[in-house]
Amino acid sequence: MSGAGVEQGDLVGELTMRATLDHCVKCTICEQNCPVSAVTPLFPGPKYAGPQSERFREAGVLQVDASVDYCSGCGICTQVCPHGVAIAEINAQARAQLKRDDGIALRDRIITRSALLGKLGTPTAPLANWTLGNAPFRWLVEKLLHVHRDAPLPRFAGRRFNRKARKRARLPDARRKVVFFHGCGADYYDDHLAEMTVAVLEHNGIAVEIPKQGCCGLPMQSSGLFKDARRYVRKLAAELAPSIADGSEIVACSTSCSLMLKREAIEVLELHDDDDLLQVSRQTRDICEFLVDLHDRGELKTDFLPLDEKIAYHAPCQQQGHGIGKPAMELFRLVPGLDLTEMDARCCGIAGTYGLKREKYQIAIDVGQPLWDQIEAADPDEVACDSETCRWQITKESQRPSVHPVEVLYRAYGLS
């Protein structure tokens, strides 16, 4: 490959996120696209909270602006910046500094521990699910922990995908192998999604290796708990790296967690020194990205049965951070009979744990309003979306089922 190859290290490499703020020309493109500042005066917008305020922030010096905590971390500002300013990353780091200065709420220490919560809830799933659906209990949780009583919470599956799947038989005549990173969501709450992902991969003659794996640390990172987030993601990278030493790819069905592995952990947490993580970053693929790559090489099975369904597809903000377009749309177009509508709203608002928090609950719903309007106008049977927390929010606000794109392919392959 030829190329200019000069001064291109504006988002990766040795340059810190903070150094990118000098590329900001105050053009307002991030402001035009910020879904949070469009609905609340509590967040003054990415430009103001980011590059402009950052010039006044120094370690140990007075924080100029606490409003940065109202950034949802959707990352859209960084995606649209034409000059490579790491706006969302700068804001995430400023939020972590704020939390170091002001202390971390008990709530944020609890709801960000998705693996720990999963471990606690799994053996007692019926009780835990009943409790989480219990209005007086949720009222109490709101009073004590400031988790909004109506915020969408998942149901525990009551069994762990990872435990069960690691004992699976190998595919004997596989063409190649991938390593499956399922994330906490599929491990504790939606093991069916993990099973469908494996089934779709195996249907295409691909062996799936499932190593023991923990949380990527994203929920902690997005609430400013960087120390814990670093510990978790380093541990996960060390768990995954041995399985990809042969050059195979990691395939992930949680688009926000795979973005964490690809980019955010390195950039936001500044883990440029972790060789395991760097290798994991290079070799991680979102499931739909992976399947479209297969298709481009002529290796994807296209024996799809017709599906007489009306689907609306929402590409979540974090999926857009991958820089891969909308591969789910490419895949859906291969399925005969699908009545497909592409939503162009940017964000459903939930942004991981943001919309669970009492003080941000309504903001998150307002952020998603364009999406709710578009879903209503499209009137689909179901909404497809790559991120689990977004699906919980979509189902609650649109009163329609929401599925991962893989589930549509799974049905179209006749695997159900």
């Binding site: 200019a4 291109q8 035009q32 995606q79 490579g84 973005l259 991958h322 490419e330």
Partner: protein
């Protein structure tokens, strides 16, 4: 994905190429590092506003065709300018914004008030801006909104009244609207006015301020999603000329035009991939065989029979001036023509004056094809601000160059498909 064409860059030039190719049945991918500069500009299409002596141009198409090399207008077929100026209003008309339309012909410049009260010649403009042509608005009330930054009605009114165009203007300021909790900038006001009741309320407040035969000028804030309807509500209610004056960024008319072009691209099956930085290419048989793209975590390659390079110029970072005096094209390392040599002056003394660096741009042949290491790349076209040889800030030609060259590149790529009989 196996696209027919890859467009690099998502400004006016790149999107024009992309929409045309997609609407001609070609599979198009737009790769962009970020959102283009379209939403920073007023989205009026300035083809040529001023001649080299500073005189106002009356007939922009005729004047554009008189431009000599290396000006971008000299590089396209003469009919292209007219065709491109006819294409854009058509595209807007079939876009998602019902009742929103562009006016102007390119045969005669519109003369449009700016946010400083100056008058700018422009070939095409949204109808709600074109209505402000100073020749049709001898008396005008310029209305601002309390708390709105960068829009000062008294300044605008004074300058319009003192200008060369027999306009008598006065100023007024509306209170910040009830129910708008957000900062009253053009963007937040536009979202607020997308609700019909708020547009009706604005009409009522304006009625209280205006005198019998005055036109009304407001900041360009009349809605993002239903600007056609909002403008109609105000005209029906006030029974007079009412027009928008473009503001500093964020530009609401720019956001409308971006919405139109991206929607048309999507409807024609085009793919938009953001956050993708093109870092190089592989050349085979004097053509681009594949490009390398840096995305989150890794690099990918994309390949297509045709490429459009719409990455912009120095302002977008697509062309960089090194401290070693070397001028580089950042994505593919394409050759730059007319750059000042080491030691020569790159900038003039007057900020808005002439600058030698403005002549520099990606070097192209008669079919807009660039060179890489001495080889002309047969399947690539360079458009928009990537082409040197123009002084858009002096001559008012930026959007015109982007539209016309973006249109021309699509024609050339479509011709190439036809020659090679590539089925759509």
């Amino acid at each position: 994905m196996n696209p027919d064409a890859i467009v690099i860059g998502a400004g006016l030039s790149g999107l024009t190429s992309a929409v045309r190719l997609a609407e001609a049945g070609r599979k198009v991918i737009v790769l962009a590092k970020g959102s283009g500069a379209l939403t920073l500009a007023p989205a009026t299409i300035d083809v040529l506003g001023y001649g080299s002596g500073g005189q106002v141009v009356d007939d922009p198409i005729r004047a554009a065709l008189l431009k000599a090399a290396p000006h971008p207008y000299s590089r396209v077929a003469p009919s292209t300018v007219e065709d491109a100026l006819a294409w854009l209003p058509d595209a807007v008309a079939r876009g998602p914004l019902s009742g929103y339309r562009y006016e102007g012909s390119g045969a005669r410049n519109l003369l449009l008030p700016t946010a400083l009260g100056a008058v700018k010649p422009s070939a095409l403009a949204p109808a709600s801006i074109a209505a402000g042509d100073v020749r049709g608005t001898p008396k005008v009330l310029v209305v601002g909104v309390d708390g709105m930054k960068d829009f000062h009605p008294a300044l605008i009114a004074d300058n319009l009244s003192a200008g060369a165009y027999a306009v008598s203007a006065r100023a007024a300021t509306l209170p910040r609207p009830n129910g708008l909790a957000l900062e009253p900038g053009a963007l937040n006001l536009a979202r607020f006015l997308d609700r019909e009741a708020n547009a009706q309320a604005l009409a009522e407040r304006l009625r209280e301020l205006v005198r019998d035969d005055e036109a009304i000028a407001v900041p360009a804030m009349l809605g993002l999603k239903r600007p056609g309807q909002t403008w109609q509500i105000l005209r029906d209610s006030l029974k007079r000329t009412i027009y928008e004056i473009p503001t500093l960024p964020p530009s609401v008319p720019g956001m409308r035009l971006l919405d139109v072009l991206k929607t048309l691209l999507r409807q024609a099956g085009g793919q938009f991939i953001n956050n993708a930085v093109v870092t190089g290419c592989r050349v085979e048989d004097e053509a681009i065989a594949a490009i390398t793209v840096r995305i989150s975590g890794h690099e990918r390659t994309y390949s297509a029979p045709q490429y459009v390079i719409a990455t912009g110029g120095v302002a977008s970072g697509a062309v960089a001036l090194g401290s070693d005096w070397v001028t580089r094209e950042m994505a593919l390392g394409l050759e730059i023509d007319n750059a000042p040599r080491p030691g020569q002056r790159r900038f003039g003394d007057d900020y808005l004056g002439r600058h030698p660096i403005a002549q520099a741009g990606i070097g192209v042949d008669g079919a807009l094809r660039p060179r890489l290491a001495g080889t002309v790349l047969a399947n690539a076209r360079v458009v928009g601000a990537s082409l040197g040889g123009a002084e858009p800030w002096r001559e008012k030609s930026g959007d015109g160059i982007s539209l016309v060259t973006g249109y021309a590149a699509a024609t050339l790529a479509l011709d190439a498909f036809d020659r090679k009989a590539v089925p759509a």
